[in-house]
């Protein structure tokens, strides 16, 4: 099976994530789109691990690291979103411009 299949599918998921980050207003949905982008990277890692499998499973190990970092990221991200919601009663990223000079 051509490895390009997996790479193109991964690019598609990543660009959908980019679209979601750019177009979504709800901060939780932005986090959701970031998860899509991280998963696209994981698919690349696992596909390359299968392609270069003779040299060990390093790609799969890095996919696991990405999963762990994604879990940390979503925990911190949601804590920040909940804190902002508590202070501003809104999770609309277009309205959260109070750090803008």
């Amino acid at each position: 099976m051509p490895v390009a299949y997996f790479l193109v599918l991964s690019s598609l998921i990543f660009s959908l994530g980019v679209y979601g980050v750019l177009v979504r207003r709800n901060a939780v949905l932005v986090l959701l789109s970031i998860e899509l982008m991280l998963n696209a990277v994981n698919l690349n890692f696992v596909a390359f691990s299968a392609l270069f499998g003779a040299h060990g499973a390093a790609g799969q190990v890095f996919a696991l690291f990405v999963i762990a970092v994604a879990a940390a990221e979503v925990g911190i991200g949601l804590a920040i979103v909940i804190l902002i919601f508590r202070n501003r009663s809104s999770v609309d990223v277009d309205e959260l411009s109070f750090l803008k000079w």
């Binding site: 051509p2 690019s11 901060a27 999963i67 949601l78 909940i82």
Partner: protein, 167 residues
Amino acid sequence: MSSLGQQVVFWVLALIVAGTSMRVVTARNVVHAALYLVGALSGLAALYVLLLAEFVGWAQVLLYVGAVVVLLLFGIMLTRAGTGRSEADNSAQRPLAIVCALAVFAITASTSAAAFSGRTIDLSRVVGTRAVDIGAIIFSAYVLPFEIVSVLLLAALVGAIVIARRD
């Protein structure tokens, strides 16, 4: 599994993942978007199993489908009231976002496909990675990144509690 069978499984899973990912970023309802994410993540887990990366596939099911999506649903639940127009996308930004996403897709897909054209994964020759192999490689070659990730998780845990705590 025959090569044709692998191709059929790949295309079915690719269609599921692409379709549900599309719905994740276009669904109007916030909860529906999170539930479509379950479909996309499960399809990706099945693709990992197709690539004989069983451990990563099950870690994906446990951590993403099990933990991250539940966390996101809790986040949606806790920020639900009074969001108002946050339900909708920023439609003024949509044409530019489509252009950006298409550009990213064109660049990454064309370069990676060109760089690896002709390279094929022969799944009948890929050696399946058992959990014991993953454990051995993590605790030998990648023990330092592993420890750094564990410190990162601890810091994220403490940070999330400190940030979200109601004083």
